[in-house]
């Protein structure tokens, strides 16, 4: 009975168009934000921050960016890793070449360079669709992989092709300790999520979705495919580029192109599919599923094994983790093919009706 929207009347369209129109949702979200901004930094240990929350946040950001393109605009991309790499290497080069570039400037620069790259490789989308388009973006993926590996200038002539960045700070506040890094990521992610959410509920977002759902009809009501698709590529690659910068600068600190390999692209695509295409929330669910679950399984399994008196060796654990993980993916898809975000909203629908079944 707690979750009811009865009695909450909207008196203006503005109120009706809020991101969370239901009061209870707003309370929950506010609670989450407090948790994330206050409780987590106070309570979480270094491992949780460094190895789970920071990569979770950054990959969620990248997934969010990809979701704009795939989930909202319907253009399948397997070049996310490449656009992350473009962001990271662009920002790195700016740092190396102009001493004392502020982190935020690098971040934006990385994002912008990724935007340009994204739009360039988005051009074929005007002609190529669906899975076929995946190849265009794969071309980007492999091309940039190669370029950062082979063109020495990008890595500032580092012998192994691996680059590293020095200590970071924002407006003089250092971003070094896990808590600082975490908070920095959190702020960037929240801001980006908000901006993206605004876009997708604005008219540009509707253009993207229209393009995705029925492009001929979209054209008939006056949406220009070029504009809609390329703007989706641009926004998406910008966010992805920023995530790339963060992945390199904040999470890894030192990286080589394989940090942004095709595996990363697939990983991100899987995040948004399992999380929910066309859902900002879904990006976070998906990232959590794909980042956290294997780690959790990996840690739980030996404990569980020990509990039943089985000493499982590392290899078996890894293999069993793979099997359970694969099964869970299938399981969740069977329960809800549209991803965790949809599962979540169905859950809410049920809650709304509770205690009646329908």
């Amino acid at each position: 009975m707690l979750y009811r929207e009865n009695g909450q009347f909207k008196t203006s369209y503005r109120a009706d168009q809020q991101i969370f129109p239901i009061l209870q949702d707003r309370i929950v979200i506010a609670g989450l934000l407090v948790l994330a901004f206050v409780a987590v930094p106070l309570l979480a240990d270094e491992y949780l921050l460094r190895a789970i929350l920071i990569p979770f946040l950054i990959l969620a950001l990248a997934a969010l960016g990809l979701n704009v393109l795939v989930g909202y605009c319907g253009q399948i991309s397997l070049g996310t890793g490449a656009f992350m790499a473009v962001g990271a290497y662009a920002a790195y080069n700016l740092q190396v070449r102009i001493d004392g570039t502020p982190l935020l400037v690098s971040l934006l620069f990385g994002g912008l360079c990724a935007t340009v790259a994204g739009m360039l490789f988005g051009i074929p989308s005007l002609r190529i669709k669906g899975l076929y388009l995946a190849v265009a973006t794969l071309a980007a993926q492999f091309f940039f992989d190669w370029a950062f590996l082979r063109i020495k200038w990008f890595t500032n002539y580092a012998a192994s092709g691996s680059v590293a960045v020095a200590d970071l700070n924002v407006f003089g506040i250092p971003v070094v300790s896990p808590v600082q890094k975490y908070l920095f990521c959190l702020v960037v992610v929240v801001v980006c999520a908000l901006l993206v959410k605004n876009l997708v509920r604005g008219h540009i977002g509707r253009e993207w979705m229209a393009m995705r759902d029925m492009d001929v009809a979209a054209a008939v009501i006056g949406i220009r495919p070029i504009y809609a698709k390329l703007s989706a590529f641009a926004v998406s690659s910008f966010v992805v580029g920023v995530a790339g910068v963060m992945w390199g600068f904040v999470y890894l600190g030192s990286w080589e192109p394989s940090a942004f390999s095709i595996d990363r692209s697939f990983q991100l695509l899987f995040m948004i599919i399992i999380g929910g295409l066309g859902s900002v929330m879904g990006s976070f669910f998906g990232a959590a599923f794909i980042v956290v679950l294997p780690i959790a399984l990996d840690r739980l399994l030996p404990v569980a094994g020990a509990a039943v008196g089985l000493a499982v060796d590392t290899a078996t654990v890894s293999h069993v983790v793979l099997m359970i993980y694969g099964s869970l993916i299938v399981f969740f898809l069977v329960v809800e093919p549209h991803g965790l975000a949809r599962l979540w909203s169905i859950g809410k629908d049920k809650l709304r009706l509770w205690p009646f079944p329908h």
Partner: protein, 309 residues
């Protein structure tokens, strides 16, 4: 010139082998509209089964005949692949009828993880050997024409012949039999296919079994070339541009796409690669495909993409 020819032929051979993996993709896509990400894992799984069976069976039965051992192992591995197909239908696809392409793609990813883990658990993760007697030595042609002759791998040649035979049989099957037509119908619209009584369950088990068979053949050929090991599963990535170049729905396209790509890759790497630091074949193929798609968005032999209001 001799070298050019050699590279060209080398490309053709590689391409044929890519095509073989690509064929598995095409089969499943054409027959169920599923882009089967697990094809690579299936190749690995089949090859592992084959390699281990051909090792275990002689031990178990005290057999000393390599041919017989291989034959038994092949049958065993095929049975395993049929079982895999059956389970996949039962536990995964059967429950995802009429869902969108991405959902099914994702489900096949789940299958990939599972097969990777499962295969390594029961078959181990070492390098294993498949020896079906494919010759390893090189063969030199036209030695009178070019110094050193033109090198061809006999192994590749055999593989290419097998691949070609498979393709011909499968293309005929799709084009000219009622079941082939039914398969294409399923790919277009699961629900409508169901509504006219096409038994999806049975069809899917059959198709996945055939794909399992193709995976097994690819696994044996690649495995006997390279040894059977986890990396075989990344072959799927090699097959990706091939399927798309040939067209997702075309059986001959898989092979022709493979040939074109193989040749393009090798020629570019050998003749252009050194100028820019090498390693370009990995992206060159994709750029090549991209260019083709700009002219033919459905790939060379794919069915025209329908967009109509």
């Amino acid at each position: 010139m001799g070298f050019f020819l050699e590279t060209f032929i080398g490309g053709l051979m590689s391409g044929m082998l890519y095509g073989l993996v690509a064929l598995g993709f095409v089969l499943i896509f054409k027959a169920s509209g599923v882009f089967n990400f697990a094809q690579g894992a299936m190749v690995l799984f089949a090859a592992l089964a084959m390699a281990r069976f051909s090792e275990w069976i002689p031990k178990l039965l005290g057999l000393d005949n390599r041919f017989l051992a291989n034959l038994l192992a092949f049958v065993g591995a095929m049975l395993v692949m049929i079982a895999v197909a059956w389970f996949i239908e039962r536990l995964v696809l059967g429950k995802l009828v009429n869902q969108e392409g991405v959902t099914l793609l994702m489900a096949t990813l789940g299958i990939t993880y599972f097969l990777d883990g499962f295969g390594q658990t029961i078959f181990g993760s070492d390098i294993y050997k498949i020896d079906v007697g494919l010759p390893k030595e090189p063969m030199f042609l036209m030695e009178s024409l070019f110094p050193g002759g033109v090198l061809i791998n006999k192994e590749d040649l055999y593989a290419a012949v097998i691949a070609a035979a498979l393709v011909i049989v499968l293309s005929l099957f799709f084009q000219y039999t009622g079941t082939g037509r039914a398969l294409r119908a399923v790919a277009d619209d699961h629900q409508a296919a169901q509504s006219i009584g096409i038994p999806l369950k049975r069809i899917w088990v059959i198709v996945w079994s055939v794909a399992g068979f193709v995976a097994l053949v690819a696994g044996i050929i690649w495995g006997s070339k390279l040894g059977v090991q986890f990396s075989l599963s990344v072959l799927a990535l090699k097959a990706l541009p091939v399927v798309i170049l040939g067209g997702l729905t075309s059986v001959p396209g898989a092979i022709i796409g493979g040939l074109l790509l193989g040749v393009g890759e090798k020629l570019s790497e050998v003749f252009v690669g050194p100028l820019v630091g090498g390693g370009i074949e990995i992206w060159f193929g994709y750029v090549l495909v991209l260019l083709v798609l700009l002219v033919r968005p459905q790939g060379l032999f794919g069915e025209k993409i329908i967009d109509r209001v």
